[in-house]
């Protein structure tokens, strides 16, 4: 680990070269919008909302999945970036079926909040209204693929934190879908421990608890921080070994 100095939006800063550009920006209270990133999970750089400009390069990089280099000059709010961010939200909105008025997470939704942040007055691309399925076979939870934005947070939390690896992405391109096991009903999954972590990390109304109704579900994501910290400190393992 070494300290690097860099510039973000004309501000001279320093940070650890093992942290991502996103982490360093946040340490200095510079806001960069994110969606697939979640503290405590690995980075996939999938949603591209956190794209930033790096001087001297025409390529945009994702702040969550890029490490800083000494002397980097970064911009996070240029017109070009704002244009791209709005387009990303428009594509996400048009590729699913979002009816906020009847959605369980209405008013507590990360996609909604981002739509407000980018000032999304309307969607310029044609809505696809795809035919997506809902699976309510699990005893406690529902997956409604109409709302899924394919951030893969559920895949990662189930594999990396719960260790059950219930979720995967099936198919390709526009047909990608989150599936349980080998595309079996969730309720038939023997791997699922019904821990509910996937439901809590899902940024939208795709993974929800049974029995919640419109605008009722607010997801608390603090648990992840504690688990990850405890793991880093080897707290559980040590207790186990001593016992």
């Amino acid at each position: 680990m070494a300290i690097v100095t860099l510039t973000i939006n004309d501000e001279h800063l320093s940070g650890n070269d093992s942290d991502s550009i996103l982490e360093i920006a946040r340490q200095h209270k510079i806001h960069i919008p994110t969606l697939c990133h979640l503290d405590g999970l690995s980075e996939v750089g999938a949603c591209r909302l956190c794209l930033v400009e790096v001087e001297g390069s025409s390529k945009l990089v994702s702040a969550c999945a890029t490490k800083p280099v000494e002397g980097m000059v970064i911009r996070t709010t240029t017109e070009r970036l704002q244009r791209h961010r709005r387009t990303i939200i428009e594509l996400l909105a048009s590729e699913g079926n979002h009816q906020c008025a009847v959605c369980v997470v209405n008013e507590h939704c990360e996609l909604q909040n981002l739509a407000y942040e980018v000032g999304l007055q309307y969607v310029r691309v044609p809505y696809l209204y795809p035919r997506k399925e809902l699976d309510a076979s699990h005893k406690d939870f529902i997956i409604d693929r109409n709302r899924c934005i394919l951030c893969t947070r559920c895949v990662r939390v189930c594999h990396e934190v719960e260790g059950a690896h219930v979720w995967d992405i099936a198919h390709r391109g526009i047909h990608c879908e989150i599936v349980t096991g080998l595309d079996d009903p969730w309720g038939a999954s023997e791997a699922c421990t019904a821990c509910g972590k996937c439901v809590l990390v899902c940024p939208v109304g795709a993974l929800i608890e049974k029995g919640t109704t419109v605008a009722e579900m607010e997801k608390k994501r603090d648990f992840l921080k504690y688990i990850v910290t405890a793991r880093q400190k080897r707290e559980w393992i040590d207790i186990h070994e001593e016992g």
């Binding site: 909105a93 079926n97 979002h98 009816q99 906020c100 008025a101 009847v102 959605c103 209405n106 008013e107 909604q112 739509a115 407000y116 000032g119 999304l120 007055q121 309307y122 969607v123 044609p126 809505y127 209204y129 035919r131 997506k132 605008a215």
Partner: protein, 178 residues
């Protein structure tokens, strides 16, 4: 001359119009300032010429809505998408996953009291389009009012801006889906 205002109800539930009526006593003030030339709450048969502002509730869900949308655009200086169904398709578009045959069967046979008949002359009811879609996919829209329904305050703000000759730039606080 007072600004000529129209309100139209396409494929929606009338909730946006209810919100319009929720402006309560402000409606009296409004009645002095505008001339309501066409509306589901006024008895006018034909959509008139030379309209200043038209608020359009609902998605474009049948062939009549589609033709109407073009007439509205031709005859109006400013067209407003009034609420989430007009802006995104919203609840009206939830039927898009079914074929129109399935929907007609559901509504006129499965849920029918008495003698189930699927209307086929398209005189009493208009023919459904394959999909319900937002207004701006058919005509140019000048202003978007969000929410299901938009609040009375938001409607009041928008109309007032227009009455004062300004194109309303809605503050971010009003940008709200659902």
């Amino acid at each position: 001359m007072k600004p000529r205002v129209a309100t139209v109800w396409l494929g929606g539930c009338s909730g946006c119009h209810m919100s319009f009526l929720d402006m309560d006593e402000r409606l009296i003030e409004l009645a002095d300032k505008i001339e309501l030339v066409y509306s589901p709450i006024a008895d006018v048969k034909e959509f008139p010429q030379n309209v200043d502002v038209t608020l359009v509730e609902g998605a474009v869900t049948n062939v009549e809505n589609e033709a109407f949308a073009h007439r509205i655009r031709q005859n109006s200086r400013c067209v407003i998408s009034f609420g989430d169904c007009a802006t995104t398709g919203n609840v009206t578009a939830m039927r898009n996953r079914f074929s129109t045959d399935e929907i007609m069967h559901r509504a006129y046979v499965e849920l029918a009291d008495g003698d189930p008949t699927i209307p086929s002359d398209f005189v009493t009811i208009a023919k459904l389009r394959d999909q319900a879609r937002p207004l701006h996919e058919f005509i140019k829209v000048d202003v978007f009012l969000h929410g299901c329904p938009p609040t009375a305050d938001e409607i009041w703000f928008t109309i007032n801006e227009l009455l004062q000759g300004r194109m309303p730039v809605l503050p971010n606080a009003y940008l709200r889906y659902g």
